[in-house]
Amino acid sequence: MTDEKPSLSQRLQPLMREAKRLSAIGWALTRHWLGIAARETWIVLKRLPIASYSFARALANADYAQRLTDLYIDGASSLPLATSATPVRVPQPAPQPTAVLQEAGPDSALVLLSLLQKEGRFLDFLQEEVASYQDHEVGAAARVVHEGCQRVLNEHLSIAPVRAEAEGSQVTLNRGFDPAAERPTGHVVGEPPFTGALVHRGWRAVEVRLPQVASSRDVRILAPAEVEL
């Protein structure tokens, strides 16, 4: 004894209904997003005339280009540029929010300190009272510190002068110079470019190669106590 099987079309009917419903929803969604895309494109396209105009005129007219440049720089005067050597860079036109003050993380500092101590006895030297010693005694210890700490610097940092010129030579700070990298002192008046004598060449850490630190390590231990058994 067997039940009569429903025909194939009967079995497919509910499926077809479901498919129609889904395609209707899909079409509605597509139209919705296409609409948004079209609007956005139109908003951008509306800016096209002024963009092409200023591009063409800046190329043709030096004064206009200078005005545009000034506009940008004034708009971002608090934004430091990478170096004065690079040509003026175009920063964000939006006004800058004041920088958020945050404490420097102690970990890298502690790792570097422990390296300076390990190689150059840096902490031992600074923590010791020097007043009671003769200069030659302090000098002898300073050799240990100098040799070791210099090795740490060479191994873990690449340090280069900010200005390559010899100290004492005349240098020029162009408009838009980075005040963090080059600091004008003395008679600071008027508009850049400033010209003056290079007093200190400055130092820049070009590269930092600190060791990777295991998460389990207590970086607050700068040097372990040693117990000889």
Binding site: F125, V145, A214, S216, D218
Partner: protein, 622 residues
């Protein structure tokens, strides 16, 4: 299909390094090398990438570090520390430090696979074998490589591992076995002085063909941290193209830069002692470090009269507790230049002191510190090294030593120009005494990394065409045969030496087999006395030597074999012949082949193994 990278590994006594080239980016002899920066612990909980991996292994006490502080990028084994941190830990806790494992690997009197390092330690300090240490250094390099090249793991690349030219067949085989143990499949061994020359060829970018000419003999002097290694390489011609042929290698000399620093430290220590200052072990180490820095400054600038050295106090009081002294130019000249590189005449030989009967098991350090005297001995011994080479005949018959025409220096010691000049000057004195033209200096760069770079160049050149140094085996090898004669009380039976491997047997060439047969008892281990000679170039396979002079043949460790009893009847005497071949890897393989063997028998069953278990050790029963 060839691998993507060609890799050279310098498995050094004091430092290891890995250099590599990407084969697709190379063109002819223009090979662009990169040095792998090797992550290693530099302090507890701190990992840094360094170009060199100090070959030191430290076995820490379980409570010595916090768990987790010994983690490497790939995890790592916290009971086996390798690299800079291991070296530093060993300065203060030497009983847990394994150092110079490579020198132990070719120590004839110890079992190289037994846990003997560090030697002579308290009962609860763990020990490992020299072989295991080599495996661990290689696996550290493998993990470092795989971390940077996860899609091109080390075991799929073409790898060259360097060994001292003076390594005997057993030590070479152990090195190859260690490399196989970490999964390196495409392995070749290369002698370090050859690697140094390849590095020079690599640096010259093809110009080397103008710098040397046919008839040149290049002397490679390689003085590393722990060993000195000499090789002679001749420039020959084949079908109009220049070829390099290694014609001789020196003996294994445990003498290197570390001896020099230690010697200077002892000089300064004695000086301090006269002023009433005694140094403890820790301070002596600090002094050794100070001396190394001062030495480099003094050697670099002859005008400098002296360099101050400060031995820091161990405690936190740095200014109050430090000891100030100095190393003078005179001290460096007398101890270093006159002590290690004295002006000697070419007929002088290194002093040999009879060893005390009760010496502790230690490394057989060279007893004469004079590198120049070892060099004189080497060149004199090899006076006839070019006799068989075309175009070199005029040298041989009247010279008392082999006349090199060019010198290539390698090893950290020769970073000091003064020392390079000194060796060259001494050599040129010997040459001018025999009216020979002075030897030229071949300019080498980067002496610490040259071996790794040369090895990578070789790994590349081997598969992609390029200059190859030929040479084959650096020795001829013999088995000792007792002559049958009536027993005479108090007399040892006369010994003959049967040549089984001729000089210069090249890798991958046809196996050779002397016609003589031996009777082997099935199922019982059989040992042969084994000899090597670096000077008897003319002996052919099957030649039976009845007498030889003492410095011609050097007895090596015994070789042994055992015919398995499953294929043959136990205690049956089977006639065998000894077959010798040099594998593609560069190791010597001896096989005992029964002369009545069935054709389907596998030759590997009768492999003759080198005894790496020390004198009197039990044969391998596995």
């Amino acid at each position: 299909m060839s691998a993507r990278y060609a890799i050279g590994i310098d498995l050094g006594t004091t430092h290891s390094a890995l250099s590599y080239v990407e084969t697709a980016k190379c063109e002819g002899e223009e090979v662009d090398q990169s040095i792998l920066r090797i992550p290693q612990l530099t302090a507890a909980g701190s990992v840094e990438d360094r170009p060199l991996l100090p070959s030191f292994l430290y076995l820490p006490h379980p409570d010595e570090h916090k768990p987790g502080d010994l983690t490497l990028p790939w995890g790592g084994d916290p009971t086996r520390l390798i690299g800079e941190h291991a070296r530093r830990q060993g300065l203060t806790t030497p009983i847990r430090l394994v150092s110079s494992a490579k020198s132990w690997l070719c120590h004839p009197d110890v079992d190289r696979k037994a846990a003997i390092l560090p030697p002579e330690v308290p009962a609860d300090v763990p020990q490992i074998s020299p072989f295991e240490a080599s495996v661990l250094y290689l696996s550290h390099l493998r993990e470092a490589w795989n971390g940077v090249h996860p899609y091109d793991p080390l075991d799929e690349q073409d790898v060259t591992v360097t060994v001292p030219a003076s390594f005997d067949p057993a030590a070479r085989e152990l090195t190859a076995e260690a490399a196989k143990a970490v999964g390196i499949e495409n392995l070749v061994l290369l002698e370090e002085p050859q690697a140094a020359l390849y590095s020079w060829v690599n640096d010259s970018v093809g110009r080397w063909r103008h710098d040397v000419k046919v008839g040149d003999i290049i002397l490679v002097v390689d003085v590393g941290g722990g060993t000195s290694d000499f090789s002679l390489i001749a420039v020959t011609e084949q079908d109009g193209a220049l070829e390099l042929t290694r014609i001789a290698v020196g003996e294994h000399i445990l003498l290197g830069g570390d001896n020099m620093d230690l010697t200077l430290a002892h000089v300064v220590k004695q000086k301090l002692k006269q002023t009433g200052v005694e140094l403890d072990r820790w301070q002596l180490q600090a002094l050794t470090h100070g001396c190394r820095v001062a030495k480099e400054a003094l050697l670099a600038d002859a005008e400098l009269k002296s360099v101050p050295i400060v031995v820091p106090s161990r405690g936190a009081k740095l200014i109050g507790g430090s000891i100030r002294t100095e190393l003078t130019q005179d001290e460096v000249t007398t101890t270093l230049i006159n002590g290690f590189f004295p002006e000697v005449s070419v007929d002088e030989r290194p002093a040999q002191r009879a060893r005390g009967a009760l010496t502790k098991v230690g490394l057989p350090f060279a007893q004469d510190p004079a590198v120049t005297r070892h060099l004189a001995a080497f060149l004199s011994k090899q006076a006839g090294a070019t006799e068989d080479l075309d175009g070199f005949v005029e040298h041989a018959h009247w010279a008392s030593f082999l006349h090199p025409t060019a010198v290539l220096f390698n090893g950290g010691v020769f970073n000091a120009e003064v020392l390079r000049e000194r060796v060259l000057q001494v050599l040129n004195q010997w040459l001018s005494a025999e009216d020979a033209p002075p030897a030229r200096l071949l300019e080498a760069h980067d002496m610490d990394l040259a071996v790794a770079r040369g090895a990578a160049f070789y790994a590349y050149a081997r598969n992609h065409g390029g200059v190859r140094i030929r040479g084959g085996t650096s020795h001829s090898y013999y088995v000792g045969i007792e002559r049958s004669m009536p027993a005479i009380p108090g007399m040892e039976p006369e010994l003959h030496a049967l040549c089984v491997v001729p000089f210069g047997l090249e890798e991958g060439s046809e196996p050779v087999m002397p016609p003589q047969e031996f009777g082997l008892v099935v199922g019982e281990p059989v040992r042969f006395r084994f000899f090597g000679s670096s000077v008897r170039r003319e002996d052919q396979v099957g030649d039976l030597l009845e007498e030889w002079s003492a410095d011609e043949l050097e007895e090596l460790e015994e070789i042994q074999t055992s015919l398995p009893a499953d294929k043959l009847k136990r205690s049956e005497v089977v006639p065998v012949r000894l077959q010798a071949a040099v594998s593609e890897v560069g190791t010597l393989e001896l096989t005992a082949i029964p002369t009545n063997a069935k054709p389907d028998a596998e030759a590997s069953d009768w492999r003759v193994s080198f005894n790496t278990r020390g004198a009197g050790g039990e044969p391998d029963n596995d």
